[in-house]
């Protein structure tokens, strides 16, 4: 018996070793209708787990803890779920509002902020316990609460977001989380519908649905206020109908250029960040939704709103021309690049598949099953500003 014990001990430790899992190359795929999150090993293209009953994920996004162990899922129904990717389990789920659009994690990883439509505002939670830390109603002064969009983390333990119904940009400073400090920028332009933060955390740019151009805030020079970029681009009366709002998150920030979807025009805008002038408007297949830069900045991949959402177009940044059009399937909703960009994963909702492409050859590598996938989020986002 005494001989057997050490062997037994060895067996147990061996088992524990066999189950070790690193989390730096994991990915979360959201199943829209079922309300599930699938955990993938992205290097092996292998599904590891399915986390169920996360509520209404018809519009969902995910951020990751900086140790890449936990994924925080923001659902449409105000649900905020914390998933342990080491143990494949739901740690905690709260319903913090009636209707939500997305969220962000703070610079130090300790706070999770959620942007809400109903009641309009931002709520901030402890990333550890999901207990409420701060409640910021988006009261524009008239007593009405605005829907909040374009919430991102910015340097200095702050968040930036925009008020869709009140035409404002707010900066929320949480260095002292007990005493949140808010700086408000008013009359930024009508109906900001989404916003982005540059990869260095310097420029916060909101797209405007009800006005031409974009509203830009230089966070190194907040005293200069909001600058309107491309003020003459697409007047209201010449706008084409928009069957899905573009998303500015994941925009292509490539060298001196910023590539962003136009709204109401079937073009991708190339903007020079040095002078904020339009370099080129590249005609594309439809209303662009995501314009995402490959991590090395050589390509931008573009998907489209209904009815052109069966296509993907690739722009070569070297000469700012269309390189190729792909047709991955019906309803291409989202893309995610591998951390260094050799692969891109594409969510094809109506075909119930995630399609993986080699970004060099533009050939399909794999098709992975997923029910009505609408979002793909790799854990490498954990270390990127604005993700």
């Amino acid at each position: 018996m005494t001989k057997l014990l050490p062997i037994l001990g060895l067996l147990i430790s061996f088992n524990a070793l066999a189950e070790l899992r690193a989390t730096g190359d994991l990915g979360v795929v959201i199943e829209r209708e079922q309300g599930n999150a699938l955990i993938f090993n992205t290097s092996q293209h292998k599904q590891l787990a399915k986390i169920e009953q996360l509520g209404d994920l018809s519009h969902a996004s995910v951020v990751f803890s900086r140790d890449q162990r936990y994924a925080y899922v923001f659902g449409r129904d105000g649900g905020l779920s914390k998933i342990d990717m080491l143990q494949d389990k739901l740690v905690k789920r709260i319903v913090q509002a009636g209707n939500s659009i997305g969220g962000a994690i703070s610079q130090d990883g300790k706070l999770i902020a959620v942007s809400n439509y109903t009641p309009g505002g931002v709520k901030v939670f402890s990333s550890e316990t999901l207990e409420l830390v701060a409640d910021i109603p988006a009261d524009a002064g008239d007593g009405k609460l605005s829907k909040v969009i374009g919430l991102v983390d910015i340097p200095g333990q702050r968040f930036a977001f925009s008020l869709f119904d009140a035409d404002q940009i707010w900066i929320l400073d949480l260095k002292n989380s007990k005493k949140p400090d808010i700086t408000k920028f008013k009359d930024i332009g009508k109906q900001p519908y989404d916003a982005l933060i540059s990869s260095d955390g310097r420029y916060y740019i909101a797209g405007l649905f009800g006005d031409s151009g974009l509203a830009m805030l230089d966070l190194w020079h907040p005293e200069l206020g909001i600058k309107r970029i491309l003020p003459d681009y697409v007047k209201d009366d010449e706008k084409l109908p928009v069957y899905k709002m573009p998303h500015l998150e994941g925009w292509a920030d490539t060298g001196d250029y910023l590539l962003a979807p136009a709204i109401g025009k079937h073009e991708v805008l190339v903007i020079d960040k040095r002078n904020w002038q339009l370099v080129k408007a590249i005609p594309v297949a439809g209303q662009p939704v995501f314009v995402m830069g490959r991590p090395d900045g050589r390509q931008a991949w573009v998907n489209f709103a209904f009815p052109d959402n069966n296509q993907l177009q690739i722009i070569d940044i070297k000469d700012l021309t269309l390189q190729k059009t792909l047709t991955p399937g019906k309803a291409v909703l989202h893309m995610e690049f591998a951390p260094r960009g050799e692969e891109v994963w594409v969510a094809v909702r109506d075909d119930n598949q995630v399609v993986v492409y080699d970004t060099d050859t533009l050939q399909e590598i794999a098709r992975l099953p997923a029910q009505t996938p609408n979002g793909i989020f790799f854990s490498s986002r954990a270390h990127k500003i604005g993700f």
Binding site: E33, F164, P241
Partner: protein, 100 residues
């Protein structure tokens, strides 16, 4: 009486011009995903307003048909007339009005 008349009119229209079942599938998919992009998969609202039966109460069919086909200026609601016709819009409104 006026209400009753339009209701009768609507009911008879709905029966007479219901889209074929294959087309109904397409329309339901459109409602779920493409209308749902703004109004929510469960139609409880998003960037666009909620479209649950109680939200549509008191809003006449012809107003809603026009909204769907022509869109609403000054809002994010686009015109759908390129993709669906008036009978199909009316059928969709019937689907929306039905308690789930």
């Amino acid at each position: 009486m006026k209400k009753l008349l339009s209701l009768m009119l609507f009911t008879s229209c709905a029966f007479a011009n219901d889209p074929p079942s294959e087309r109904q599938e397409v329309l339901r998919n459109l409602l779920k995903h493409d209308c749902g992009a703004c109004h929510g998969l469960t139609l409880k609202g998003g960037l666009g307003p909620a479209l649950l039966p109680e939200n549509l109460q008191g809003k006449p069919d012809d107003f809603l048909v026009t909204t769907i086909l022509e869109g609403r200026k000054g809002t994010a609601m686009p015109p759908w007339r390129q993709f669906i016709n008036a009978d199909e819009a009316l059928w969709l409104i019937g689907v929306l009005r039905k308690p789930k």
